[in-house]
Amino acid sequence: MSKNINVALIGNPNTGKTSVFNQLTGLKQKVGNYPGITVEKKEGICKLPRGVKAHILDLPGTYSLNTTSLDESLVVELLLNKNDKDYPDVAVVISDVENLKRNLLLFTQIKDLRIPTILVVNMADRMDRKGISLDVEAMEKKLDTKIALVSTRKNTGIERIKELIADYKNISSKPILDPNRISPEYFERLKKTFPQEDLYKLWLVITQDVNFMPIEKKRIQDASDFSTKSKDELKKLQHKETVLRYQLINNILKETYKVDFLAAKGLRASLDKILTHKVFGYLIFFVILLTIFQAIFDWSGYPMDFIDEQFAMASEWVKNTLPPGVFTDLLAEGIIAGIGGIVIFIPQIAFLFLFISLLEESGYMSRVVFLMDRVMRPFGLSGKSVVPLISGNACAIPAIMATRTIENWKERLITILVTPFTTCSARLPVYLILIALVIPEGNFLGLSYQALTLMLLYLIGFGMALLSAMVLNKILKIKSRSVFMIEMPTYRLPLLKNVGYTVIEKTKSFVLGAGKIILAISIVLWFLGSNGYSEDFQDADRIVTERIENEGLSTYSKNYIQNNIATYREEAQAESMAPAAISDSIQVLTAELSERAVAQEIASYKLEHSYIGQAGKAFEPLVKPLGYDWKIGIAVLTSFAAREVFVGTLATIYSVGSDEEETIKNRMAAELDENGQPLFNLASGISLMLFYAFAMQCMSTLAIVKRETNSWKWPMIQLGFMSIFAYIIALIAYQILI
């Protein structure tokens, strides 16, 4: 079999490039990162006619080869490097029929690299409505290429792309613009110095700040008989290049592309009037945020409860079915409990990415940027910071990556530094379980206390992000010329397929990424929790049995038995059982319960004297003033890797040695402090929630911040400040409330 055809999809943002990619590859795609950097790499396989296959690479959207961001540099680096394994045999430039002129700028640049280049004119279904007519044949001749007229919405033209790719050897690779026209004198000299090189590629190497080919860049600088131009002069030439390209394009379009403005009908103007309105604009935005919020808290509650129960049952089933032993314990108490702690996030993360992807696909997100820019500026942020700050409510990692669109370095740095304060989905499980435990049920103006608490936590996170941004804006002395610019795309009905792919993809990578850490920690925790070196641990059975014989059961166990019996009695009376039968079965029940209570006391004694118990006890003095016991201390400590580990850790710690089928929540509710009061009360619960609101409990975020700021300085400052601040606030909250 011959090797796959390498295809690179290139295009401006908002041209439907991703839709074309999805149509070409279906679900046969892979999302990863480019080595060493966090730019998302999307690739897939496409079956072509006659049994040929193509490897499709979806490059980051770019307006031209004049790069201003990491994502864009990557495109240029790949296209200049013939030795890269992804170097395209054929480039497919995706354009939007309404913005053809601007899209063709990029097309001419790609073509000048002498790569066979196919032009896809997307959104062809809009032509009638916009009064556009296109002479495809004439345009193919003028541009010296093949064109596919495509509508991903109507699913037309995809086959044509596949045919053109399969037939790529017949696509011309002749350049369009003679670089000598930019500056005859300059390029003449360039040619003399480097007779072997292609002039346009050299030009890109000189003007673009790309990592690629450092040697060649150096060679150019070192060439003694060739004087380089100053930055300003180069910029002037780049301006001229752009003007020349547009002249060329205008001449071509004049004869092939017509717009009848009378026939053009647009929703854009009227929708914009409402959505960016001084009052309605904000109102609509607020309502949308509330809806997202409602979905995460309310709607995802049902599937989450369901998942929680399923895992409790699975754990129980494994214990009852498999022969008892270390492996069964590990499976039931370590692995299943750990995985449950991950899977339970899926509904919330899916909802969040669903909404964010709907907002982006529809074109609404740009309007939010437009609306919010002026409002964000006093905080040292830009309108574009809104997108990361909203995405931060899903996960800080993609959010920090999304700051790349912010042109101004100071605004970008501040956004990166404050984004981790927003309430990411990893905080949700912690909040949800604590709210359910410590916030009473009840209503205030039709909203439940629990929902209000959650909303407050979101506001606190967001408020803290703004506040620290304001402070940073005052402190940081970074000069950076701001060129805020954002395209306002046409409104589009989001394609369900695209939204679906995004949701599945993001959820999958989150679960798998975070899952590995959580699973590993769960197993380690389980091991540390069910082993110990001390005699207390080895002899737990004997010690506890003796103690019970001498002192009787602990208060906790007595309460446990009493509560269970009371519930049983009520149920039995409700079913109007005979009093004699009731007291008989209560006797049986009491015996059973006492037996269980003894087993539990042994288990908890063992846990206390296991490795983890010892470590937790050592750590306890530090968290005691915040109202936490050593178990919570361990959970806080392990969740430094990722916040969501908190719930998983408690689940693992509490399930070690316990035989009962119980949800995590019930186990936590049953925990008592040394005075026999519930450990999770209002004071300790709120202290914990505030701790998680402010603390930088996420290793992945630190790693991303390091990559994006290119130094350890910022993540370390972030970590130090957030942890200390969180500790102090949690301390104050507990001491006031207790």
Partner: protein, 80 residues
Amino acid sequence: MATVADLRYGQVGIIKDFTEHILPIKLLELGCLPGNSVELLQIAPFNDPIYINLSGSHLAIRRSLAALIELEIIEETQAQ
């Protein structure tokens, strides 16, 4: 000298030749070239940024940048 920042709702102007190369290249690539038209579509609350139609490209830019683009106002469409 009128600039894009001086446009009122619905007004259209034609970009003048610029000799100084102070504008970012990205703006040129999006169509900010001498002879092209600019129409003001929306002004954000608090008067900034502005939303323009730059010869077919729909963009939002801040006033500070808009003030660098000189133009000749040619048309007064039904301004509100």
